[in-house]
């Protein structure tokens, strides 16, 4: 076959392979559940916090949680307790935690 066809086929093969193996790059709620053990103390089981001092996390939007944890980590948002909690979280950890809490039932959009 001509070089262009070959090039296209190679590209297609890479694309398919990437898609097939992409699962490992997607945030895991299951992994997040394990990582959320230290969070339970304040934010409650499954993110259903019992105390108004700690927000309900259950059902919150995943990318919002990622943004907030990232802000705590960078110091953009200040809270001494949270700053300590996120210090050891990797990007993967943050995304897994966010996926876990987003998968819980709790918060909702209210008009």
């Amino acid at each position: 076959m001509n070089p262009t066809t070959l090039k296209t086929l190679r590209l297609l093969a890479v694309a398919v392979a990437t898609t097939v193996f992409a699962g490992s790059a997607i945030a895991s709620a299951e992994a997040g559940k394990k990582k959320a053990e230290p969070c339970k103390v304040c934010h409650g089981e499954g993110g259903m916090s019992k105390s108004p001092e700690f927000p309900v996390l259950a059902g919150q939007n995943a990318d919002y949680i990622v943004a907030v944890l990232t802000h705590y980590k960078s110091g953009k948002r200040k809270n001494p307790v949270m700053q300590g909690q996120v210090a050891n979280l990797s990007v993967r950890d943050i995304n897994d935690l966010a996926a876990y809490y987003a998968s819980q039932t709790g918060l909702m959009v209210r008009y």
């Binding site: 089981e45 499954g46 259903m48 916090s49 105390s51 108004p52 001092e53 700690f54 927000p55 309900v56 259950a58 059902g59 919150q60 939007n61 995943a62 990318d63 919002y64 990622v66 943004a67 953009k76 948002r77 200040k78 819980q104 039932t105 709790g106 918060l107 909702m108 959009v109 209210r110 008009y111």
Partner: protein, 102 residues
């Protein structure tokens, strides 16, 4: 509403009134009331869900925006307009029990 009346009867601390809060939330609806709505600036992410959040937490957040402790520009502008009573009422409307964990 009934809870508000009961609270008033027992002279409870100014728990906000959800019915009044519903009249006051016109600045909130456009972002927090639309499923899937995203912020555009300075970063893009889904606007946080606040339905079912602890009312006192909502009030604390609004106060933090008003004071400047939290720095989202739009939220600061909105919180600047709200009195303490407004915040209590709005928080009472959005807050209350989130559905229990399944």
């Amino acid at each position: 509403m009934a809870a508000g009346l009961v609270a008033a009867a027992f002279g409870a601390q100014a728990a906000g009134d959800p019915a009044t809060g519903r009249q006051k939330n016109f600045q909130c609806q456009g972002c927090h009331g639309i499923p899937g709505w995203k912020t555009a600036f300075p970063e893009v992410y889904h606007v946080p869900k606040i339905g079912g959040q602890h009312p006192a937490y909502i009030v604390a957040a609004l106060k933090a925006y008003k004071k400047g402790d939290r720095d989202h520009a739009t939220m600061r502008a909105i919180a600047a307009d709200l009195s303490d009573k407004d915040m209590e009422d709005i928080a009472a409307y959005y807050g209350g029990s989130a559905p229990a964990k399944k």
